[in-house]
Structures are given as structure tokens and as C-alpha cells.
Amino acid sequence: MNNELIMNAIYGGALIGLSAVFLMLTLGRIAGISGITSGLLSLNLKRQDLWRGTFLIGLLIGPLVYLAIGGQTPEVVIDKGFVYMIAGGLLVGFGASLGSGCTSGHGVCGIARISPRSLVATGVFLTTAIITVLLSR
């Protein structure tokens, strides 16, 4: 791993942090992607949930803005097949919903708040993810 990749990781991480701080400053909300977007999975959406939709649009169009500014699309290499996509998606959705958060809500915002629940959640999902990768090699 070269210095440029490390610097990009640090700058990109800082940008994610700035996004979380901005959302707290303006709306007083935690930047947890699973929480924000799963709030849209409801049959009676209210006017006060509209911000969830605009956050999602911003998240979705990121690659297009990146292309417009940088002139290239982000590299996304997915070597796994469709069965993996379905199984992985089901487990991620089910688990984030049951565990009240994902990598962003627990891993970034929760650890930054020094929340005991998020520290435990992050330790648990990092462990099971590492074991899963070891077993699937």
C-alpha cells in the first residue's frame, strides 16, 4: 500500500466525518445510513421524513459528481456472483435492522460518541466479518 492510498483513505475518512458533523449541526441527526434510509421503508411517510430522501439522493449521485469533477468513475470491483449479492444483502439488511445500525451509525458516529453499544456492535461485526472472509477463502 503506497502513501497516496493512505492519504486518500485519511482525506476520504475526514470527508465522511465532516458529513456526520454537518448533519448533526443542521438536523441534530446521527449519520447512520441504515437508520436514515430504512426510515423511508414505511407506508405512511410524512413530510418530516423528506430529508431522508434528499440524503439518499446525495449518496446515490456521488459517483456522478465524482465523474464530473475528477473525470473518472470510481473503481468498484465485485467478483462475487448474484447469489452472494442476495445472501449478503439479506444478512446486512436483517442484521443492521436488528442491531440498530451499520458501519456508519455504530462504526463512525457511535464510536465518536463513545457509545458502549456502538463499541460492542463494531467489535462484533468486525469479528464475524473477519471470520466470514477467512472461511470463504
Binding site: 456521488g62 459517483p63 465524482y66 468498484v76 444483502g89 463512525v108
Partner: protein, 151 residues
Amino acid sequence: MKEIAAFIAGLQFSLGLILSGMTNPENVIGFLDITGNWNPALAFVLMSAVVVTGIGYRLVWKRSQPMYEATFSVPTNRVLDKRLIIGSGIFGIGWGLVGLCPGPALASVFTENGVKALIFIAAMVGGVLLQRNLTTLIERRPALKVPVNNS
């Protein structure tokens, strides 16, 4: 204003994921695969994001309220329950299988691998709905034993 602020935050988040290489599952799997050719990028991303968020949150919380809302909506639950641990464990298995989690999956829809990302997202939505229905079913059982009606 609320909607514009949320849009800016979403876009910032997405660009942060892209710049740091976290929309690429190869980098995530490379981090999780501790016995292989270990790629530490995710650790730098997480550290950097946590430091900026930690300092920023403390500055923001000096205010009496957010700019466009009456109160801060910060979780106050501190109980380490079974749901948290089992849910996070299941989440990690899915994350490790593909190398995608909700943020990067959504930020990959408009890329070369958008079809796979969309399938992952559809399954993710299915997983959330399944969890909600199962929990409702499980929680409804003991409720039948409670005859008290306060209405």
C-alpha cells in the same frame, strides 16, 4: 433548508466513501482478510472519520439546538442487549460475504457494477422488512397474555 442540508451531507458522505476507496469491495475484503495481503486502508478511513466526528460533535453540542431542528436526536440507550449483539453478528457475516455495507452499496448504484449493487440493495430491503415482521410476530405472542385494556 432541512432537505438541502441533508442532500449536502449525503453527497459529502458519498464522495468521502469514493475518495477513500470504500465503495470498492476489494478494499474492504482486503482489510478483513487479515491472513492475506492485508490492506489497512479501512482502518485509516475509520480512524480519520471517528476523530473528525468526535471533535466536531463536541463543538456542535455546545449549541443549545441544531440549526433547523428543535432538538438533537442522539440515541440514549446504553443497554447491551441480545438484539444488538445478534444483529451486529449477522450484519458482519453479510458484510464479509460481499464486502458491501449499506453506504457503499447505495454509492455504487451509478457505477460499472450498478446492477450487482442494486440486487444487493433489493435484498437488503428484503432483510430489513423480514426482520421487522419477525420481531412483530415474536413480540405479539406475550402480548396475548396481557388482558389489561387501558383504552
